[in-house]
């Protein structure tokens, strides 16, 4: 197997990511995001399968009232692009491979269970916090939003605080 290419220098990577963010501000007047896209897909899906349920549930009424069609949203198109961009980078660098990535001392099964559990928490938290690491923390910091700094500190502070107790997962 051919060896995967090295990753980019992180400071160069940061500048490039910052430039992508600036383009988003300049073109669309908004920053990057992520968690809004799966939410839009879920609302669209649930609305298609069970329209009577969404018509009678507070959250969906609010959401569908404010959107033309949930899938016709900036974040949905942006996240489709993320899938394509990630795939292209992986293809160029020779990193396309099905695998479960995990710490050296856990089984794949444990890793998957914790990945699902972590995803549930992140999915829920991103809705409660009105955006995830991309939309709230990164974009929020770039525009100097007070809420962005608070959410960023809460995310990274909690993860640092818990790291010792769950070290078996990663070390």
């Amino acid at each position: 197997m051919k060896e995967a290419k090295k990753y980019m220098n992180p400071y160069l990577g940061g500048v490039l990511l910052g430039l992508v963010l600036i383009v988003a501000f300049w073109v669309s007047g908004r920053g990057l995001g992520a968690s809004g896209a799966p939410k839009a897909a879920l609302v669209a899906g649930i609305n298609a399968i069970a329209p009577s349920h969404t018509a009678n549930t507070a959250f969906y009424q609010e959401y569908l009232g404010g959107h033309a069609h949930p899938l016709k949203s900036w974040l949905v198109f942006e996240m489709l692009g993320v899938l394509v961009g990630g795939f292209l980078s992986g293809a160029v660098a020779g990193r396309l491979k099905f695998k479960v990535e995990k710490g050296p001392n856990v089984t794949s099964k444990v890793r998957i269970i914790f990945a699902v559990f972590g995803g549930i928490l992140f999915g829920f938290g991103s809705q409660l916090g009105r955006g995830c690491t991309s939309g709230s923390a990164l974009t929020g910091m770039a525009v100097l939003s007070a809420g962005g700094f608070i959410t960023m500190a809460a995310i990274f502070g909690t993860a640092f605080g818990m790291a010792y107790f769950v070290r078996k997962l990663w070390l």
Binding site: A4, Y7, M8, P10, Y11, G13, V15, L17, L21, I22, V23, A24, F25, S28, S35, P38, L42, I46, T57, A58, S73, F77, E78, G81, V82, V84, G85, G86, G90, R95, L96, E101, K102, F114, A115, V116, G118, G119, I120, L121, F122, G123, F124, G125, S126, L128, G129, R130, C132, T133, S136, A142, S145, A146, F149, I150, T151, I155, T158, W170
Partner: protein, 201 residues
């Protein structure tokens, strides 16, 4: 001139098309920096790999200072840039829950999509979890609606709170970031691991 969409220089459909291309750039840069690797992301919290810190803060500084220069040149009207509203309790509560999800799951939403795109099955599991978590939030919305909407503070800037100009705050953040980069470089040597070789994924 900017933002183009607000000043009706482009149509809303063009805006969506450009969103797709912006996403490609976003995903490409994330993957090229190894944000598609959960061990690299988790490494941030054990010190053996602080790439997340370096990329994240360099990006925030670049974009933050870049915006101020664009505004200075008259190329963008900052008053049209969307700023997340601040609801204090949910910003903290949501952040704490996300932080727990980050260290347990090894990804955040954007990075999990990026990792799934190159075949990481743990990222696919994480995305499954995200969907469940969002459904729980939406279905149980009346239970946490009060907390969600509590302590609304408008859309304040940190620079307003600290009573300083945007430029000065951006400058101070850059100084702090350089200090953190120095700590990060130190940590990567101090907490280096034999079983973790950077760039080997």
């Amino acid at each position: 001139m900017g933002p183009l969409i607000v000043n009706e220089i482009i149509s809303s459909n063009t805006n969506l098309l450009i969103a797709f291309f912006i996403g490609i750039g976003f995903g490409f840069v994330l993957e090229a920096n190894g944000f598609s690797s959960s061990r690299r992301l988790a490494g941030m919290f054990y010190g053996y790999d602080t790439t997340v810190l370096k990329v994240f803060f360099t990006a925030a500084i670049t974009a933050g200072i870049g915006l101020l220069f664009l505004s200075l040149f008259g190329w963008i009207d900052l008053s049209f840039i969307y700023i997340n509203p601040t609801f204090l309790w949910s910003a903290i509560g949501g952040g704490v829950i996300m932080g727990a999800g980050f260290i347990l799951g090894g990804y955040c939403p954007g990075t999990s999509f990026c990792a799934a795109a190159i075949g990481k099955l743990d990222a696919l599991a994480f995305i499954g979890g995200i969907l469940i978590g969002i459904v729980i939030f939406m279905e149980g919305y009346p239970l946490w609606e009060g907390f969600f909407k509590a302590k609304y503070m408008g859309s304040p800037l940190l620079s307003d709170w600290l009573n300083m100009s945007r430029g000065l705050l951006a400058f101070l953040i850059a100084i702090v970031a350089i200090g953190m980069f120095w700590v990060g470089e130190w940590a990567e040597k101090k907490f280096a691991r034999d079983d973790y070789e950077i760039n080997q994924h």
